[in-house]
């Protein structure tokens, strides 16, 4: 059922520009208005979400420690998994954000006959995640060639590297294949791994399908129904210099590609995809394990009702004196 909802929604999203451009040639709408709108929603949405998080404090120091803490000088500290300095935290965060460190720990529990519970190292999820995210990242970087003039050399380099195989002309890009592989793995894992299937809802399938459709339409306009890159770049640069002109392109798939990207941009801030920004905020990862070294301040701390020593002694004084325990007051 969740898969059905997600596929219907994706199809619907493909049809909108398909009909809008294919039948009514609404270039101004799909080429300018929708894009500006999506970009605006994306920027303001991300900022809004981040500010909402930032407005709530981190009242307590709650890192999840995954290694030996700083202790006696002769005990070897794990400076990354139990950092007591900001530099350590930066390293920990970089490993987490760039290389999905925590997923590298992943293992599957299996209950065997005879009641033996065994754990198997499982790097597939890590691999699928890395494949997907890194490919997406490289794809975004190399799209910069369509936005920046002159094309920066690192973009040119990455673009060149990505097409190293020189299969077809223009060359098939490696990351296009890898991201498809990543998406397909993540999608079928959701479908066929019983545990993951159980926890999945339509908003888990939808982003995968959406991005899948974006990649496919991208491949189509690169390899099948080719588009005029010059015209597109001029159009995109026009958009970014607030001097938009209608794109000359008449390829409907191009507009579908654009529309799906716009959908993704405006969907991102209001969905789980905001983990893109959220991962940096996670207090269990971005805090130092130094809470006995430096005092952490709780901004909403308030006085509470306590049971003072005096009140306490009043209740137990007589009995304490009987057994010879020292007291503050005699009666």
């Amino acid at each position: 059922m969740p898969v059905l909802y997600a596929s219907l929604l994706t199809l619907f999203l493909i049809l909108i520009p398909g009909i809008g451009i294919g039948l009514f040639n609404m270039k101004a709408l799909f080429g300018i208005v929708v894009l500006y709108g999506a970009f605006l929603i994306f920027i303001s949405g991300v900022i809004y979400r981040v500010i909402i998080w930032a407005k709530s404090p981190v009242p307590f120091s709650i890192p999840t420690v995954c290694g030996q803490a700083k202790s006696l000088p002769w005990i070897r500290q794990n400076k990354i998994e139990s950092p007591h300095t900001s530099w350590g935290v930066i390293k920990r965060m970089l490993l987490e954000v760039l290389f999905f460190r925590s997923l590298l720990r992943n293992e599957k529990g299996r209950l065997k006959t005879g009641g033996r519970l065994l754990f198997y190292r499982n790097l597939l999820l890590w691999f699928g995640g890395v494949l997907f995210h890194w490919s997406l990242f490289i794809i975004i970087i190399r799209h910069l060639r369509l936005f920046l003039e002159p094309v920066p050399s690192f973009v040119e380099f990455i673009y060149g590297l990505d097409g190293l195989f020189e299969l077809f002309t223009p060359p098939l890009l490696i990351t296009d294949l890898l991201i498809l592989l990543g998406i397909i793995y993540l999608f079928f894992r959701r479908l066929f791994d019983p545990q993951t299937r159980y926890i999945s809802i339509s908003t888990d399938y939808f982003p995968l399908m959406l991005i899948f459709a974006i990649v496919i339409t991208g491949l189509l306009i690169r390899h099948v129904q080719k588009v005029d890159i010059m015209g597109i770049k001029a159009f995109l640069i026009g958009l970014f210099s607030f001097n938009p002109s209608l794109p000359k392109e008449s390829n409907t798939i191009f507009y579908i590609h654009l529309f799906l990207v716009a959908t993704l941009l405006s969907y991102l801030p209001f969905s789980k995809l905001i983990h893109m920004a959220g991962v940096f905020f996670s207090p269990t990862r971005n805090l130092k394990n130094s809470s006995r070294m430096e005092r952490h301040i709780n901004p909403w701390d308030y006085p509470v009702l306590v049971h003072t020593y005096e009140e306490w002694e009043d209740e137990f004084r007589a009995a304490m004196k009987d057994v010879g325990l020292p007291v503050e007051k005699e009666n």
């Binding site: 920027i43 991300v46 900022i47 981040v50 500010i51 930032a54 407005k55 404090p57 981190v58 009242p59 190399r142 910069l144 060639r145 369509l146 936005f147 920046l148 003039e149 002159p150 094309v151 920066p152 973009v155 040119e156 673009y159 060149g160 002309t169 223009p170 080719k226 588009v227 005029d228 890159i229 010059m230 015209g231 770049k233 001029a234 995109l236 640069i237 970014f240 210099s241 920004a277 940096f280 952490h296 301040i297 709780n298 901004p299």
Partner: protein, 132 residues
């Protein structure tokens, strides 16, 4: 410290700088031209196929020509207007498009596409009329 105000703002600024890179990068570089001026042949007004087709699909045509000529031995190509052309990069294409830097490289540079392997074998036309 508990709100990390400084870090959050820095993060957002970095996010915006990266996101809006086309805006400031293009403005700073000042290299954006209103429309890309290519050095076009003066005598011929039309190419062997439609202009838009050539823009998006010239690579396919060139590959087809290469395969036809080198692998199949086909030496002619019937163009848009029914005119028959000799399949030859140097003899046909480059006879009109004599200025590689002003024609090929303009677009290839503009879109960040390294000039393909044409020039591994073919010589680059130096001056008008110079052929090998």
């Amino acid at each position: 410290m508990v709100y990390d105000k400084g870090k959050v703002i820095t993060g957002l600024v970095v996010f915006l700088i990266i996101l809006l890179s086309p805006l400031w990068y293009n403005a700073l570089s000042g290299k954006v031209e209103p429309s890309l001026k290519l050095s076009m042949p003066k005598e011929e007004k039309s190419c062997i196929e439609e202009r838009m087709f050539m823009r998006s699909n010239h690579m396919d045509l060139l590959i087809k020509w290469r395969d036809d000529a080198v692998r199949k031995g086909i030496r002619t190509y019937k163009g848009l207007d029914g005119k028959v052309y000799r399949i030859s990069l140097t003899g046909t294409c480059l006879s009109c498009h004599i200025d590689k830097a002003g024609f090929c490289d303009r677009c290839h540079g503009y879109s960040g596409v390294k000039t393909p392997k044409c020039w591994d074998c073919h010589n680059i036309p130096k001056e008008e009329g110079s052929k090998v």
